[in-house]
Symmetry: C2
Subunit: 388 residues, 2 copies
């Protein structure tokens, strides 16, 4: 989250002060020269590249520019050749997916080399630092589910809203079968595209189902950025105080997304799709801010969700459980995960819940930080544990 | 197409020569001051804006830049205020959707104000110049179909390929009903996202079906840029000569996309979805390059498609029909459309086909050019005529 918030701030403050310039660092000089094109490059683009150390190399043709930097949270100075092509190389990055941008004469812009991702509050560039275990989220020639874009009427906002729904391959082939549902939320300054695009949720599920490691279930991915959800009428009164959004903390027991989820999204899904409607077939999970929302929403609706997942999104304590009447009997599993490079207390939190009789699993993603590879791995683990 | 090709060339040639600079024009001085935020802006963004004349006004904070232009095919000079904010205004634009970019010290970049679209060969900015008849493609509170993302194995390329499938709202509710299929293709330097995102195909269909103006059918939208489709093995031998892609002309009767469509896409759709498999329930249409592909593919497979649509994508002549054995008896409708600001010969072409006994409809989109509003209107017309 730190890196994402930093990038949002940088986008807001486009002017480059002398102070900021002094904080820029030179290109990484000791890079191993085995760079390969990034996997999310646009067709035919060589740059950006990544090497075996996880260093990122970018190029931009900008003969008229007087300074260009690569901004990966930290800003690396790029240098211009005689053809006006700027090149820069970052220090080694954590494995996984990172948002980044280029700074041309002080103005932030996406790298034209990569496809466009929504994160850090804008459509922009992304880069994938390969990990040893990328296989589980690749597109494979196994029975393919689908991710469908769906609009629905929201009473709480009096508007058409937009979500994505993952359907397992067998869904259309079993017209009389009902399925469980996982409501799966993105992080701060991301949106409903994130889990399918950066997260590869569909591929993770298709591969797990093909290996019979997960039971087929539906995933609903919606837009949860509370400050952009405008509740109306009676629903506006349920809106939390400002400043409680996105904290993942203990302050709020409710937020604008929670109102939309309970009022509109769940009823819509349970009407539109062949799904079970009891708590034992309903899960909620989220990453970072979405994990905090999962915590608050499941505790505030303690008999509604059988499975709870928080990926880099805080923990649930025995006191939380004791304060949420019915949660203890309803929750079949509380899953709490973290990258090992974050500040994980998830194993201790799971142990405390297990001691009070709430089944809980802690998971630490080894070698990863607060980014999408931690969350892909978390979904991969969580999906194998639920609805069984 | 001209504007799109121009933009691609500009992206390729990032350096600004003195000659090019001299071609830049000043900001439009006589704009009516009733600018409103563009409908495709990112949440919370005021700029870009459009006024009642169809003029575009953009802003970019870039204190370090020495020149900034708005590039809408033509480049408009922007001016900097004391806070380092650049503002520029274009001349009035044709109604509909336009790709554009900003040029900062000679380097092209997307406008951070809009969401990101794939067109002109890259993810970049887009702007919607409102028209009087925008209503038919708006998201409305009517029964909503879905647009689903689907991967499938392609024998012809030995890879997983990616398409979007529009399913009408009733599809899941009628597990024993079969549906007709329209294969609908994008234009040059666009991709399989285009028809759903810029084209609003899903909304057009939902609204038509809700009004009972179209029968429910499925739409398949795939990636047709031939030079990026790498056929393998026996299929590579079916590849056309270079230079025949995207011409929409009469040179090629086949291309790489045609091989993938006939080998992989149609069999996949007919296996995966509940669809009719005869020519009378199969249509193909496309815009611009996709119209040319439709022309070549339907003439080369003259007994496979009952309905043929070319939107700003050329015409079919009596000689074409006579050279394509079976086409005359199979084709229930040839639909040819054009914006009135293009060079339309579609009415004459339709008349010639009708005279030889092939039912044909010409459609001229009044007041529009070679862009998406022409094609949305074309789909709106075509969809009401097919499978009836």
């Amino acid at each position: 989250m730190k890196k994402i918030i930093l990038s949002v701030m940088m986008l807001a403050a486009l002017s480059v002060s002398a102070q900021q310039r002094n904080n820029n660092v030179p290109s990484f000089a000791d890079a191993v020269e085995d760079f390969k094109p990034n996997v999310t490059n646009q067709p035919g683009r060589q740059y950006p590249m990544v090497n075996s150390q996880g260093a990122v190399r970018v190029q931009l043709r900008a003969p008229g520019a007087t300074s260009v930097q690569l901004d990966l949270g930290r800003r690396y100075e790029m240098t211009k050749d005689e053809n006006g092509v700027w090149t820069g190389t970052s220090a080694p990055q954590d494995v996984g997916f990172h948002y980044y941008q280029l700074i041309v004469d002080g103005t932030a812009m996406p790298d034209p080399g990569t496809v466009s991702f929504f994160g850090a509050g804008r459509w922009g560039s992304g880069i994938e630092i390969p990990s040893d275990d990328m296989d589980f989220w690749q597109v494979k020639n196994v029975p393919q589910g689908s991710v469908e874009e769906k609009y629905y009427w929201s009473k709480a906002t009096e508007s058409m809203r937009h979500c994505y729904v993952y359907l397992p391959n067998e869904y259309d082939k079993n017209p009389n079968k009902k399925y469980p549902v996982l409501y799966l939320q993105h992080g701060n300054a991301e949106n409903e595209y994130g889990w399918s695009v950066q997260g590869h949720a569909g591929q993770i599920m298709d591969n797990l189902i093909a290996q019979k490691k997960a039971v087929p279930f539906i995933i609903v991915m919606d837009y949860g950025q509370g400050q952009n959800i405008h509740l109306v009428g009676q629903y506006a009164q349920q809106q939390p105080q400002q400043g409680q959004q996105g904290q993942g903390g203990r302050g709020g027991s409710n937020d604008a997304f929670s109102v939309v989820l309970m009022t509109d999204i769940i009823p819509f899904i349970e009407k539109e799709y062949r799904v079970y409607t009891d708590a034992q077939h309903r899960a909620m999970a989220g990453l970072s801010m979405g994990g905090g929302q999962t915590r608050r929403i499941t505790l505030a609706n303690p008999t509604k969700f059988g499975y709870v997942g928080m990926f880099s999104g805080g923990t649930i304590s025995p006191e939380d459980v004791n304060g949420a009447n019915g949660f203890k009997n309803t929750a079949k599993l509380v899953f709490m995960s973290s990258g090992s490079k974050e500040n994980p207390r998830v194993m201790e939190a799971a142990e405390a819940l297990n001691q009070m009789g709430v089944k809980a699993v802690g998971y630490i993603s080894e070698g990863t930080a607060h980014e999408w590879h931690t969350w892909r791995r978390s979904l991969y683990q969580f999906a194998q544990l639920i609805f069984k």
